[in-house]
Amino acid sequence: MNDNAISLYRAEQRRKIFLTALSLIILLLIISVWRITKGDWDIEFTRVIKLLSPWLDEAEKFSPEALVIRSVRLPRLFAAIATGGLLSISGAVLQGLLSNPLAEPYTLGIAAGAAFGGAIGLLFGTSAFIVTPAAFVGAMASLGCVGFIAWRSKGGSSQLVLAGIVANAILSAGVTFLKAIADDKLGAIVLWLMGGFSGANFNSACAVWGALILVLIFAFAYAPMLDAMSLGQERGAFLGVDETRVRIILLIITSLGVAAAVSSFGIIGFVGLVVPHLLRIFTGPAHRPLLLLSFLAGGVLLAGADGAAQNLGELPVGVLTALIGGPFFCWLLIRRGKN
């Protein structure tokens, strides 16, 4: 193979990534148009464009149609896209950091920890300034315990996921216990845990976008280190990466992101597992393209799933992702066993 063949191969790689990104962007646009024009009340696309124009006259600006689009459909769409992107990027980062393709916020117990922490927070008040920090502390504590168990049991990848499953079970029991003693707060907890995007508003959408951008910047900066670390067996350390430091920084950042998503929209599992995995099959495991494509594909998946969930009678979207993602996880396990 000569240098020419290598530049051909690299051009082919770039083309594949570009085409995948392009198709995801087109899909995202199609889903966005669907989500903004369709609903209990169909609004023509040309009308939507007109209503979104900044030069709208006063009467139209406060017409019911404009209000539906601006304060219901757009925030919901943007919240779903950002949450999907955030969960997918977090999944890709965790899978790289831990060199384990089964890692994701849900399987590692980070999401369950955030739910438990958030539920405790809810006992003291429903403000986002209480619930989000409580969810973050819960996420970090759960992740810390899972990591500690995996480290003490001297186990590798599979031990970590097992510890995550145990943490999930304990924390779900904890949440049930909180519900049992919650009295008048029970309704708030149940509603919050059910999650979904039906209650999305401008503020919650902005919070998740902020978290998304933070996680993406950090993950992108550390992407080449993630490449080396994802090979496992201290490959990163031998190539000059301070693995402990990178792990701590990125685990804190992703926990923060997951806590922001969970405290606004509840537990949505398996998105972070499915998306990076499928992308690796199509465009390879290098993290710089993987992270950017994960953002797009996660947005497509969750915005689409949210649309489907709404059309199925406002199901919680987490139910839908678990119904799709659970079997996918089983398939992954079986495939891994075969290799």
Partner: protein, 261 residues
């Protein structure tokens, strides 16, 4: 780099997972730079552990200095620019292409957000050429045979281009022809590029043929060290608890063959 000829200076080095069983016991050595050093000894004698310690990846008591800097005080990034490591086994978790794996060797020379430049790409292609794996560059690393993966890791260290290379049985999965080529390459690195190469070897005759110095480890103790030409029957007997007989190869060099009881 400092001007003196000592690369590693090891004083009272000890390592153990607990106090009862020490894996490395009171090791003192000076390792010359710009030389090929064989690390020999029976299985489980602590060779890999010593190599890991030199690479700064393992905690230790005592002192290990590289170019007069204590290894454990150097940052990982500095060590990455100074020392390249080829580990014994390699079972990657994700299907990177061979190109991508070799390219990771450039990581210690990059800052956050940096991109690959054409200089880096030339180094990568060169490294692949020297190990005769250009035809594998677009292949998925998980689909390679053990021997091919081993050569990819060596190419990765060449792309990393550090002054010191530590290799743990780099030819264990290679056929005799490829193994000889790798040792020739290591020899070349010492002679032409003035690198320091420390390599764990099981084949005594390979060490005799290619290295300048040896370090002999037995149950965590450094029982002998020196120029390779001083490696004699008594040392080998003591090291492996086995008798050896000498024979001459076609060039008339003395070679050793272990006599199993």
């Amino acid at each position: 780099m400092s001007e003196n000829n000592i690369c590693f200076e090891i004083n009272n080095l000890e390592f153990g997972y607990n106090n009862r069983k020490k894996i490395l016991k009171n090791i003192n050595a000076e390792i010359n730079s710009r030389a090929l050093i064989s690390l020999i000894g029976p299985n489980g004698s602590g060779k890999s552990t010593l190599l890991r310690t030199l690479s700064g990846i393992q905690a230790y008591t005592g002192s290990v200095k590289i170019n007069n800097f204590e290894v454990k005080n150097l940052s990982r990034k500095n060590i990455g620019a100074l020392i390249g490591v080829v580990p014994q086994n390699f079972r990657p978790a994700y299907p990177f292409s061979v190109w991508e794996v070799i390219a990771m060797g450039r990581l210690p020379h990059k800052n956050l957000f940096d991109r690959m430049k054409s200089d880096d790409e030339n180094l990568i292609i060169n490294a692949a050429k020297r190990l005769e794996i250009e035809h594998l560059l677009t292949r998925n690393i998980m689909s390679l045979s053990g021997g091919e993966a081993q050569r990819v890791l060596i190419a990765c260290v060449l792309a990393q281009d550090p002054p010191v290379l530590l290799l743990d049985e780099p030819t264990s999965a290679l056929d005799p022809n490829q193994a000889a080529k790798v040792f020739k390459l290591l020899r070349e690195l010492v002679k032409l590029e003035h690198k320091t190469v420390i390599v764990v070897v099981h084949d005594i005759n390979t060490s005799l043929e290619f290295s300048d110095y040896y370090l002999a480890l037995k149950s965590g103790e450094l029982i002998s060290q020196g120029e390779i030409k001083n490696l004699d029957l008594n040392i080998l007997r003591n090291l492996y608890n086995s008798d050896f007989e000498a024979y001459h190869n076609e060039r008339g060099d003395v070679m050793w063959r272990a006599l199993a009881e």
